[in-house]
Amino acid sequence: MQSLTGTLMQPLSESLSIAAPELVLALGAMTLLMIGVFRGTRSFVGLSWGAVVIYVIAGLSLLGDASSAFAFGGLYVADDYSAFLKVLIFVAAAACTVTAIPYLRRARSDKFEYPVIIMLAALGMSMMVSAADFLALYVGLELQSLAAYVLAAFHRNEARSSEAGLKYFVLGALASGILLYGISLVYGFTGTTSFTILAPLMSAEPSIGLIFGLVFIFAGLAFKISAVPFHMWTPDVYQGAPTPVSMFFASAPKAAAMGLLVRVAMEAFGGLADQWHQIIAFAAVASMILGAVGAIGQSSIKRLLAYSSINNIGFALIGLAASTPEGVSAVLFYMAVYLAMTIGSFLVVLSLRDTAGRPIDDIAGLAGLSRTRPGLAAALAIFMFSLAGIPPLLGFFPKFSVFLAAVEAEMYVLAVIGVVTSVVGAYYYLRVVKLAYFDEPTGEILPQESNVNGTVLAVAAIFCSPIGLLLIGPIGRAADQAALAMLSF
């Protein structure tokens, strides 16, 4: 790995070639925007597929030399860790772009800006996971958040959607402010914002100001992954936002913010693990309990999935609390499987429409799904069993690996609470399956209207089914390699 000081004299062309994925996304988003501006709304479908092509190109530009490299004077780092997360982000963003087409058309919100804003958000997330400096971190985070606020209010004629956008904006701006305040404290007490320069300064006895800064930074990032006690916005925003947008919120930004949190914790504040360990452990326990208990009383499917995402973030945080390479690898593995399960569950919600063509959001609407739409019910059952962590479905294995990492780090209490809450959580996942399979149908449900959505849904279902176990080896190895690349600083 090259040294940080060497990058100050680095030519710009070299930096640009290291940051190729971001370059592709930025130029791609601007090209799509120009096409959309001149051709208008009718280019919506074409632009969505164009966006997928750009994600593929950006993904391909991740290939190449595998060694870690700094760019832009140490603001940006490209390593296996960022590459792993970028693949997740691009796949999720592409899936959320094309599967939204039928929904947005029906709701008359099929504006060409949708794929463009998703791509700008993906650019921000990609900058987040590659950030090696608090400045770059903040800029990436803000880019992603700003795009997300707009997406939440995308159905501007609907009061719920506008409310979701406003709520997300106000709380998100507050969280950004808290994060920025923490960054300024850390900068003030250490004199640097670079992770690599910060890391060796952390071994000494930390000052109170530094710890304050650390707490504020973790609070700001906990908001972005919606960990308890910074989760309040999640159910309201997921319910109010258009369903494809909720699907996007629950998938890619979660992975990006999680990746960012792990990098900040392990790389910049690795020496202060004793200090942040209790914060993460508390957030993990609280998220698992509240996610499991809060979901029980919900009658809206989207709210239920929001609580499910809070619950899952709690499990993933256990891996970070272990603060070992195995723990980091388990977090990455968890996020990869979580993305597939979440996108799949939301796709099921997307394809639920009553005879009048209106989207169904009530859990009671799932009753008897196995008789009206057997294929969809089977997919739903796979996702729910997988989210509940029941073997032999794929969802069991990431849970197992985070618990294993916690046990190896001798955090037995955390592991035990995790197992108990996953049993509590299983109740509401199984209730959904029971409704779909054992209750009398209350109404007709229209068939899938788009082959693309059906295909993505089928792929996600197969990935989460026992067939997906074949992929555990490659994903696990990639996650191990990514964790080691990040920790070798």
Binding site: A19, L75, V116, L120, G140, L143, Y149, I197, G209
Partner: protein, 206 residues
Amino acid sequence: MVEAIIFYMLAAVVLVSGTAVILSRNPVHSVLWLILAFFNSAGLFLLLGAEFLAMLLVIVYVGAVAVLFLFVVMMLDIDFASLRAGFVSYLPFGLILAGLLAGELIVAAGAAAVIGPPAGAPPTPVLTSMAGISNTEAIGALLYTRYVYVFQGAGMILLTAMIGAIVLTHRSRGGVKRQNIARQVARQPGEAVRITKPKVGEGVEL
């Protein structure tokens, strides 16, 4: 000596105009007093040798923010008299809060003077050869070289904000008459002129 005189002059004007902002009855006058306060603060920055900040203050705050305030104040029909109705009854409470804050500031400043500067690593200068060039040049040299990545990232944020504002507010209304220059230019005399022969004592029907 001259610097001290200029400082006190600028500082006095800032204080007076700042007080006038909250005391003047007419909101438009308040905004104008605010602009005066901004200009004089810019003068204070100049005294400190921070000419870049001074320029920013004038361009951003006077040029954009204050003018925006002025637009908002003039466009919104707010009854400011009713907003001020409870001023006297709130005055004692406000004075107590202000006194508390002032006391805390004095204690904090005194404590800081006793303790001295905080311990910790001094900030690491990024570029060492900064002597002899102006602030603006130094910021420019860093902004477009070392921090070009963040700078471009900020550009993307502004682009996103712009797209977002348009997506959320732009409506294409029907029945709007737009100028079509090509059609105007292509118009022939035959379409535009009509020759009539009105009889004496009768008007023209248009």
